[in-house]
Symmetry: C2
Subunit: 190 residues, 2 copies
């Protein structure tokens, strides 16, 4: 089951490593910027991970919704990993605009492993159909939720944002669907 391994890989190879360092990273970022505090609400000091049910993941969030705008990168973390000396990990901070044009900042990215699912469903030699891909996305979410709920290292440092972008595509597509979905989550944190 492809998604089972991808969820474990996302956890052991990334979230378990970077999430414990996230708060320090944000504090360092604020110190570096002087007295400003871009990320105002400590309850939103989490990695917001967007999980689109379609598994379709653009490399720039702005391509999905122009109300989601890159703001800055957090300081880098460098760790020796599997023979790569000082492999670099970093997160991006985005400003998400509401309908009044007001920016809400958060640490945001897509669940990168889903790109593998999408590309596999496009490569006939990978043996994954579009129907199977959808099943695997649901299995990825289910497995990842289960792992993270039991993880001491990751507690309170993440937010999974499931994007129902398939149902959304019936009828008139909303160009601000991503920003609205993220803002619903952020409002609960503010």
């Amino acid at each position: 089951n492809v998604a089972h391994g991808l969820a474990w890989s996302f956890y052991t190879g990334y979230l378990k490593i970077v999430l414990p360092k996230l708060v320090d990273s944000i504090e360092q970022y604020h110190r570096h910027k002087g007295n400003s505090s871009t990320l105002r609400h400590r309850d939103s000091w989490r990695l917001h991970i967007v999980i689109p049910l379609s598994a379709f993941i653009p490399d720039k969030l702005e391509e999905a919704d122009r109300r989601v705008r890159f703001h800055d990168n957090l300081p880098e973390i460098a760790i020796d990993r599997a023979g790569v000396r000082r492999r670099v990990y970093k997160h991006s901070v985005y400003a998400v605009l509401d309908h009044q044009g007001q920016p809400h900042h958060c640490v945001l990215e897509y669940a990168t492993p889903l790109q593998t699912l999408y590309l596999m469903s496009q490569d006939s030699s990978a043996g994954l159909s579009s129907e199977e891909r959808r099943q695997q996305v649901l299995l990825f979410i289910h497995t990842l939720q289960g792992i993270l709920e039991e993880s001491v290292e990751c507690r309170n440092r993440y937010r999974l944002i499931v994007l129902d972008d398939e149902r959304e595509q019936e009828g008139e597509p909303d160009p601000y669907f991503l920003s609205k979905t993220i803002l619903k989550q952020l409002q609960q944190e503010e």
Copy 2:
């Protein structure tokens, strides 16, 4: 099948992206170092990927064999990936000493996805036993070989080095098993 997804992920999310840029990276590295050319043999301008059958992967190669010594990092590559702006990819150059103490340089790392397999086999909630893990390592190698053989992007830019470190552990373990295994490969390239 966990390993099937990890092999596809390793290809679509890493090797397919970084291997086409490897030659440029090495040329840039040599220019930056003046007239020296650390990696003398163009046939060894490949990413040498060590795949231990045990899936046991230390983060520092020196811990596996002190004749494998970190030399330098190649220039970084930065790409926008899934919302992370300018995500950094880099490779490490190692000096591998032969029995005469002569250094042979190469671009070297472990197959990072196997760390996930190893950690899964240690976490009872992941549902992977040690026996299953071994099967999955073999499936990973088989799947990855199949993908890479068909890949135009990766042709001639990699070398898979399978490390039979399980059989090696019966009897007196050889502290130079890793370096000797790598050197056998490098001698074919020199």
